[in-house]
């Protein structure tokens, strides 16, 4: 099964991305996924301030500066991995180097026929 590991980071985490100790953790984790041969997709994302939000307004579109103000955690990136079941996905999720202020959500990839 394919699972997305959805990474959410706090504002402090986004600031710490320049910090080698934090960055190296992510590089090592990504390497480990590649090494295991289970990484099928993924991307790290720039901080939420760089985002732009488009919303449908009737026939028109409304363009706004990001990010969504609510929530202490913001989307930081994601991995898509191919593993046999949820327990295997959980095992990889527990290795993600998020800080105590961040989180990892595991979601199965939508199956399309």
């Amino acid at each position: 099964m394919q699972y997305a590991l959805i990474i959410r980071e706090s504002a402090e985490d986004f600031v710490r991305r320049g910090d080698p100790a934090y960055r190296d953790g992510w590089t090592a984790y990504t390497k480990a996924l590649v090494q295991a041969g289970i990484l099928t997709a993924g991307a790290g994302l720039t901080p939420p301030e760089t985002g732009t939000i488009v919303r449908r307004k009737g026939e028109d579109h409304d363009v706004q500066d990001g990010p969504y103000p609510e929530g202490k955690e913001q989307l930081g990136g994601f991995y898509v991995i191919e593993v046999p079941d949820l327990d295997a996905a959980l095992e990889w999720a527990t290795r993600v180097p998020v800080s105590e202020r961040g989180s990892v959500e595991i979601r199965p990839r939508l199956q399309t026929a």
Binding site: M1, D85, D87, A89, P108
Partner: protein, 416 residues
């Protein structure tokens, strides 16, 4: 046929049903589809076996009955329905196994099902109902009564949990060694919760053999045969047997509640206590103490009173301390305070109770009952009466209510 034979037939039917569900679900990961295939066969078995007797091969009987439903249902079904064909494939594998003379005994994979139902990704409050439904075929209506929910709400939550098992890819497997202890704790807690519900009489069954307490003991027995080397599994079974042994002593002839200390030890079931003792001793030989062994040990101290005519409160203090260090639940802390009350006096016990988190105790009935008892020992009748009233207000069991009301009256008359 006698009702005992009827119950035996029901037991075999549910046992075989659970084995077949486990077999089908482990291969298709689709619990709802497995249940669809087998539920009518179970209903037919529960109808006919008590009258006509248990068939020689119960699993084969159920599969044959289910085969008819499956063919009928397939005619109405979309051919492209992938999940259904997974179950159909698993079904055919089961039939093949059944006809294979080399493998005469049908595989028992219920433990895998138990681990799936109590997976941490499933809402904790659904672990016990899910387990009871899939492994024992207990229907949603019975469960709704036991778990104080509307039948519709219970059905919906069960369906949601089963869809999650399928769609999230929750494995049907015995967890690897490094996860086993933690996951096993989830299975044991769910079984003990089923026992607790039956014990409180919330399932409306006074007869232990048909109520949830019986199902819980039975599941735990099954577990000891599948995992014979796990001391906590023995601990859980021992704990439940100690409690079960006292079942007939906890009500007097008028049906009124009798507290443990006042129970007639002659009414306790010697056979069950002997089995519980033996299990606890065997668990101890593995030298790996855990919360269920600890709770069983607490019960073993209580039942020793039948031989020594006295309760070893010091031993209970030690055991509750150990329990709190392993599993700091509110129940353990309140019980610890109660036994401290016996050893060091009511004042020390009240200090312990005062130290508990206020928000947690607000709706916890045992806290108020213990507090009321301690206050009345100190002669603080008004405060005791107040605490008894809160305890009565929080009780969901009429016999406990009657008992506490009696205590309340005694406190009021003493202060008057």
């Amino acid at each position: 046929m006698t009702s005992d034979a009827g119950r035996a037939a029901e037991k075999v039917a549910r046992q075989s049903y659970g084995k077949l569900i486990a077999f089908l679900a482990a291969r298709s990961r689709d619990v709802p589809a497995a249940e669809d295939a087998l539920s009518e066969a179970l209903a037919a078995a529960l109808r006919t076996w008590p009258e006509r007797g248990i068939p020689d091969n119960p699993e084969a009987w159920l599969l044959t009955a289910a085969r008819r439903n499956l063919i009928q249902a397939a005619r109405h079904r979309n051919v492209r329905d992938n999940a259904r064909s997974m179950v159909t494939l698993a079904f055919e594998e089961a039939e093949e196994r059944m006809n294979d003379v080399e493998n005469a005994v049908f595989p028992d994979e219920r433990l895998k099902l138990l681990f799936a139902c109590t997976h941490p990704a499933i809402d904790r409050s659904m672990h016990t109902p899910l387990m009871l439904q899939t492994v024992l075929g207990v229907d949603a209506k019975t469960m709704a009564r036991a778990f104080v929910a509307s039948p519709d709400a219970m059905s919906q939550r069960l369906v949601r949990a089963k869809v999650k098992i399928r769609d999230a890819g929750i494995p049907f497997a015995i967890p690897e060694q490094h996860m086993l202890t933690e996951r096993l704790a989830g299975v044991l807690s769910a079984i003990y919760a089923a026992y607790g519900l039956g014990w409180d009489g919330l399932d409306g069954e006074e007869d232990s053999r048909t109520g949830l307490t019986g199902e819980a003991i039975w599941l735990s027995r099954t577990l000891t045969t599948i995992l014979p080397e796990e001391p906590e599994v023995m601990g859980l079974l021992s704990l439940m047997l100690y409690c079960e042994a006292r079942r007939h002593a906890r009500r007097d002839i008028d049906g009124l509640y009798v507290p443990l200390e006042d129970q007639d030890t002659g009414l306790w079931n010697e056979i069950m206590m002997a089995e519980a003792d033996a299990l606890l001793r065997k668990a101890g030989t593995f030298d790996c103490f855990g919360p269920f062994q600890c709770q069983a040990a607490i019960q073993s101290v209580h039942v020793s009173r039948r031989r020594t005519a006295a309760t070893d409160w010091e031993a209970l203090v030690t055991l509750y301390r150990a329990l709190i260090s392993m599993k700091p639940t509110l129940g353990a802390k309140v019980s610890h305070a109660a036994v401290i009350g016996r050893v060091e006096g009511a004042a020390s016990a009240l200090t312990l109770l005062d130290g508990l988190e206020q928000r947690a105790i607000a709706s916890y009935q045992p806290y108020w009952a213990v507090r009321a008892h301690l206050l009345s020992e100190l002669g603080e009748s008004d405060a005791a009466a107040e605490a008894y009233r809160i305890a009565i207000g929080l009780s969901d069991n009429p016999t406990i209510c009657t008992f506490l009301t009696g205590r309340l009256k005694a406190v009021i008359s003493r202060s008057a």
